[in-house]
């Protein structure tokens, strides 16, 4: 059907004679977008996306176009139909979305126009400040997480969802922009890439062993508060000790025999303030020959 459609401006006029500047939504604004540049012979024209729609032309009030993108329309086309309309070009040119087929978004029934608005001059999904609203319309938990005490500058548009994820499919798990979690994180945090003389296995394994990238109540983007975080893996030397809220500033004062403030004169450093990180500060790895314990 794509070969039969008229992509020219004359072809468009079959549509714009009704769908003009006074239509309920801005339609002609597509001519400000890349899809509307008639000087580029690849641009689709109205029928290129919506189909030739001869029946609709004959009975505009009764028959709908062959491909309907309006999400609230009773005649909304299936996801497969809408995506096929986009992929007719975007899977067959040199910018093919190679990894789209079989990607989580594709298999979970996401349509291109769930995120993209082909008629909009400035698409929300392409504006770094408004992109989280688009992704968050489905990923509401992650959007909520972006408001937490410790977070990336997502709301400010300095780090966007697409900074880390390729929503069209990728070589990485969870639609990561890079092949692995660490390759994705070190795109910005290159100082943590190493390789270090003294490596910390959970760090080389995956940053998200300790961090939760969408937001946390615990700085910096931690899954669990230190020292508990460290004690989940380390149980020797002073890491085996029981650190609790006993006699911490702001915590409960523990007494023995109800009279002696045992320990209250000396809250352990490992369980207080910055905890383990007060000493083991090069926890992402150390290149100091004496830094095997991540203190150098």
């Amino acid at each position: 059907a794509q070969a039969q459609v008229d992509r020219s401006l004359e072809g468009d006029k079959k549509c714009t004679m009704c769908h003009d500047e006074n239509w309920t939504k801005p339609i002609l604004t597509i001519y400000q977008t890349k899809h509307g540049v008639k000087g580029d012979k690849r641009t689709p024209g109205c029928q290129g996306c919506h189909g030739e729609s001869l029946q609709h032309q004959g009975d505009p009030g009764g028959k709908s176009p062959e491909v309907v993108f309006g999400k609230k329309s009773k005649n909304l086309s299936t996801v497969a139909t809408r995506n096929a309309s986009c992929l007719a070009c975007h899977e067959n040119d040199t910018l093919a979305r190679s990894h789209w087929s079989g990607s989580k978004h594709e298999t979970h029934g996401v349509a291109c126009n769930d995120c993209h608005d082909g008629h909009a001059i400035t698409q929300k999904v392409l504006n770094p400040v408004t992109q989280p609203q688009v992704c968050g319309s489905c990923h509401k938990t992650q959007l909520a997480q972006s408001h937490r005490f410790s977070r990336h500058p997502i709301l400010e548009g300095k780090v966007t969802c697409s900074s880390c994820h390729n929503v069209h499919g990728s070589d990485g798990n969870t639609l990561l922009a890079k092949e692995t979690v660490n390759q994705t994180c070190t795109t910005c945090h290159a100082e943590k890439r190493g390789p270090f003389l003294w490596e910390h296995q959970p760090v080389t394994d995956s940053c998200i062993n300790c961090h939760t990238p969408h937001g946390s109540n615990l700085s910096p983007l931690l899954k669990v508060k230190v020292p508990t975080l460290c004690q989940t893996c380390h149980t020797s030397d002073h890491a085996k000790n029981l650190y609790s809220g006993a006699n911490l500033p702001g915590g409960n004062v523990t007494t023995a025999n109800g009279q002696i403030p045992l320990g209250s004169l000396n809250p352990p450093a490992q369980g207080n303030a910055r905890g383990c990180l007060g000493c083991h500060s090069t926890i992402h790895g150390s290149n100091h020959p004496a830094g095997a314990k991540f203190q150098r």
């Binding site: 500047e21 001519y31 000087g39 690849r42 299936t78 093919a96 087929s101 079989g102 029934g109 001059i121 509401k140 938990t141 909520a144 997480q145 005490f149 500058p153 548009g157 070589d171 692995t180 390759q183 290159a190 100082e191 943590k192 890439r193 190493g194 390789p195 270090f196 003389l197 003294w198 394994d205 615990l218 669990v224 508060k225 989940t232 149980t235 020797s236 085996k240 000790n241 029981l242 609790s244 809220g245 911490l248 500033p249 409960n252 523990t254 023995a256 450093a269 207080n272 303030a273 910055r274 007060g278 000493c279 083991h280 500060s281 290149n287 100091h288 020959p289 004496a290 203190q295 150098r296």
Partner: protein, 877 residues
């Protein structure tokens, strides 16, 4: 106003409901206004009511006072209906401000496009950090000559004690050697006061923040209809100050927090070629990332001993070069095969800190730099098809290898500022220096590598119109190793995980869309409790002192790990190697494997990253378009992980969340969206503060033998079973609860547009601790102090306490308004109010008097109520 524009602060992020670059709402749209690329400029002024680093953490609004608003978006080029495809755009946001960005592009669509950008990113970290150190902004930190060693004179006139910096905490009574609670003398109080008078004025504020400045250029060339070449290059400089912990003396674990300087340069390059031949698409790409740390080290005086100093290494400069390829072929039945792969090399060869720079390296270095090399490779193959009507299938295989080829060497070092003492059991043997101390570390680096194989198959069947059911199986095998290590370094050399999943998907039937998925996974692997030995090569050598074999040989022959046997004092005295390696059935002495610290783990610990686990994941998402005006959306998710074979370590990890979102819309005139999200995460782990079996029967004096509480009545019975005392076992439950609620509102009325966002976010973190510790009665002292009165406990068992709750509450309201008072001119107004209430016990522990052996930084949790607002004129032309 111009000055304000160039030196003010950012607002764009808080104008999302009404983007500053949006064209004004013309009273009567025309074909020309909709089809002609437009130009908008938006300039104005605003103000902030207060100062807070947290309020301005990323938006630049950290200072009170006026600021400027400046944004523009100019677009132009050939008309849509011309034969020309030339287009250009210039865009600027938050002009001249610490969050500013500029972008420009031009090109002939379908032929080429050239673009460039400039952006700045701010990260405010603290405005309450204090330090007595001089040299902030440099890499050399010194203490003023007037700095006096903080002590609590009534406890010790010479031992460092940072609690002395607080007049109350440093003036308490103490127990004398006679066991008498004694008030400090006037002379002792004067000593403490003299130290405070000298030291406290030396603490000064250092604002901590970092800033990234990035420039990027790129070009996209359509060389032919089937050849496409994009290239780009970016350079980023990061500078500023961050806080970093630095230990001074490992013996008493004194530490300080330094305001270290950040001076990073990172360049990144991308280039690719895409080529299409009929249904075959191939591409080849290059990615390079080159990181340079312009600071080699940080040196700082020892706060406990001004004659000493120490040196920290910085993040080493490194390079990453990666080549990738992709091939895609389409077949009949919508079948498609995509094969991709990559080869990357990550190198690092920064010069090491030398012995001359750091006294911990008295025995020299095996090499002057790491010669670090990590080779990463990937092969990815995915086949998708519709083999029959109603059927979709996906088959996917993925191989990823991180091969760390960094050479392994042995390094000798003393712990931080700790002098060598004693004689190592390996001194002068096996090529080791003859002067090694018993507290000298003999460590080998462990270059961690991992290799992942994944295979996945999914089949989807249409059980009805727009209704699908899918089944999935996934297999993942991970191999971990350290090439060149003398023994296996991985906790679990191989882990395999299998996942079975099912999902139901219904789309847009009567306005109803729904999806439900369930996955069950099981991961298994052989856990290696002696992996820690890879760090200490002397574990494979026979130490002096009578042992007949190495520690590794002993552990292999006995089936033990470094923890030793799980039992109490031996009934009969141990002999031979058992008496040497597991004296009194205790853990292996670290000196017998060349370590200053015990590094064995608990018998039964399983690190959760590789531990055996059963996992269940469920997800439900429902969306109902009730009417054209009203939409209701709800979803829920749960992820439960049971670490079934972990006696110690993480036992259970549970996450679940629920979201409800309702939206009401009347055409474009009025939109209301209300939402609420609850997020719950809980992790339980078990530890054990085991002691060493001993024959010690009293504390202080022979008659002081009773224990109050705990699992044993006397000191003798407690110590005999110190290693297996069940009262020393403990659990921690770490729970995070989050509530996020809010609504957005927008209303258009003629030329007036109103919008508002209201958001409340609450985060609560709890750490519940169950267990306890034994603490000696401070009155149980050696003679000449008197013995305890008969029946008085010499040891108390005190219960653990939950950590104080960490809580953050944030309320934000951002109303905006715009009014088109001329066809091309719009008056815009925005207001932002944010209230933050934050509490975290970590900050309380950073104050004077709250810790004995770490330097306070006096940072405080952010609490504020700040408003920001402004007016701007947006002109369209």
């Amino acid at each position: 106003l111009l000055l304000l524009v160039f030196f003010g602060s950012s607002t764009q992020a808080y104008s999302q409901a009404n983007p500053t670059t949006a064209a004004p709402a013309a009273t009567a749209p025309t074909a020309a206004s909709q089809t002609t690329p437009g130009k908008t400029a938006d300039f104005g002024v605003g103000g902030v009511s207060g100062s807070s680093y947290k309020f301005g953490e990323y938006n630049g609004l950290q200072n009170s006072g006026p600021f400027g608003v400046g944004n523009f978006d100019f677009r132009g080029g050939a008309a849509y209906d011309s034969n020309s495809a030339w287009r250009w755009q210039m865009k600027g946001t938050d002009l001249g401000l610490e969050t500013r960005s500029l972008y420009a592009e031009f090109g002939k669509q379908g032929k080429f496009r050239v673009y460039g950008s400039y952006s700045e990113m701010l990260a405010n970290r603290s405005d309450s950090f204090q330090t007595p150190y001089l040299g902030a902004g440099t890499n050399n930190f010194t203490l003023p000559s007037t700095w006096l060693l903080p002590v609590v004179a009534q406890k010790s006139a010479t031992a460092q004690n940072f609690r002395g910096l607080d007049p109350i905490a440093g003036s308490g009574s103490y127990y004398s050697t006679a066991g008498v609670l004694t008030a400090p003398t006037a002379a002792q109080l004067l000593t403490n006061a003299t130290i405070r008078a000298a030291d406290l004025p030396l603490f000064h504020n250092v604002n901590l923040s970092t800033k990234r400045t990035k420039v990027e250029f790129g070009m996209k060339l359509q060389l032919a209809s089937n050849v496409y070449v994009p290239v780009s290059y970016s350079y980023e400089h990061k500078s500023g100050l961050k806080a970093l912990g630095a230990v001074t003396s490992q013996v008493s674990e004194n530490s300080v927090i330094l305001p270290i300087p950040i001076d990073f340069d990172t360049s990144q390059a991308n280039a690719a070629v895409f080529y299409r031949f009929k249904q075959l698409l191939v591409s080849a790409a290059y990615y390079g990332s080159y990181f340079t740390d312009n600071i080699n080290s940080y040196t700082y005086q020892d706060v406990a001993d001004l004659t000493k100093s120490a040196t920290l290494a910085t993040a080493p400069s490194n390079q990453f070069n990666q080549f990738t390829f992709t091939a895609m072929e389409k077949f009949k039945h919508n079948a498609k095969l995509v094969v991709s792969g990559s080869y990357g090399r990550n190198t690092q060869d920064d010069p090491f800190i030398t012995a001359a720079q750091n006294g911990q390296l008295a025995f020299g270095l095996p090499t002057a730099s790491l010669h670090g090399l990590v080779v990463s490779s990937l092969v990815n193959a995915k086949f998708t098809a519709e083999p029959a009507k109603k059927w979709n299938v996906v088959a996917h295989y993925r191989y990823a290898n991180r091969d760390n080829q960094t050479p392994v060497n042995t390094y000798y070092f003393q712990d931080a500022n700790e002098s060598k003492s004693g004689t190592s059991a390996f001194a002068g043997l096996y090529g080791n220096p003859a002067t090694l101390g018993s507290n000298t570390n003999i460590y080998a680096n462990r270059p961690y590598s991992d290799k992942t194989n994944q295979a996945e198959g999914e089949a989807e069947y249409a059980i009805a119109k727009k209704q699908w059911f899918a089944g999935e199986y996934k297999w993942e095998k991970v191999d971990r190793s350290c090439p060149g290590s003398w023994i296996d370094c991985s906790d679990a050399r191989t882990t395999s995980e299998h996942t079975l999943g099912a999902s139901w998907n219904k789309t847009s039937v009567a306005g109803f869309t729904g999806r439900a998925t369930y996955d069950y996974s099981w991961r298994r692997g052989a856990y290696n409790e002696n992996a820690f030995l890879a760090l200490v090569p002397m574990a494979n050598q026979v130490p002096t002192g009578g042992a007949s074999q190495s520690l590794y040989s002993f552990l292999k022959s006995t089936g033990l790990n470094g923890f030793g046997p799980l039992t109490n004092l031996p009934g009969v005295a141990l002999t031979g190697d058992a008496a040497i390696y597991t004296p009194l059935n205790n853990a292996v002495p670290q000196g017998l494997y060349g370590s200053r610290n015990a590094i064995n783990e608990l018998l039964g610990l399983r690190r959760y990253t590789v531990a055996d686990r059963n996992r269940q994941k469920a997800f439900v998402d429902l969306d109902w378009q009730a009417t054209e005006k009203f939409t209701l959306h709800a979803n829920g998710e749960a992820d439960s992980n049971d670490f079934i074979n972990s006696t110690y370590g993480v036992k259970k990890d549970l996450f679940w969340e629920a979201t409800l979102d309702a939206s009401y819309t009347t055409a474009n005139a009025f939109v209301l969206d209300v939402y609420y999200t609850y997020d719950h995460k809980r992790m339980r782990f078990r530890g054990d503060a085991y002691g060493s079996n001993s024959t010690t029967a009293f504390v202080g004096q022979a008659a002081d033998t009773l224990v109050a509480g705990g699992c044993f009545p006397t000191v003798a019975t407690k110590n005999a079973s110190a290693k297996i005392d069940p009262c020393l076992s403990y659990t921690k439950d770490d729970t995070n609860k989050y509530d996020t609620a809010g609504f957005t509102l927008s209303k258009s009325a003629g030329n007036l547009q109103l919008a508002a966002q209201v958001l409340y976010n609450r985060g609560r973190s709890y750490t519940e601790v169950a267990g306890g510790s034994y603490v000696n009665n401070p009155l149980a002292l050696a003679a000449p102090a008197p013995a305890l009165p008969a029946g008085t406990p010499a040891v108390f068992y005190i219960a653990a306490q939950n950590y104080p709750t960490i809580r953050d509450d944030e309320f934000t309201i951002t109303p905006t308004a715009s009014y088109v008072f001329k066809k091309k001119t719009t008056l815009k107004a925005f207001y932002l109010f944010q209230k933050m209430m934050s509490s975290d016990w970590a900050y309380l522990g950073m104050q004077y008097g709250t810790g004995t052996n770490y330097l306070p930084s006096n940072e405080i949790a952010p609490n504020y109520a700040i408003s920001a607002g402004g007016l701007s004129l947006l002109y369209a032309f």
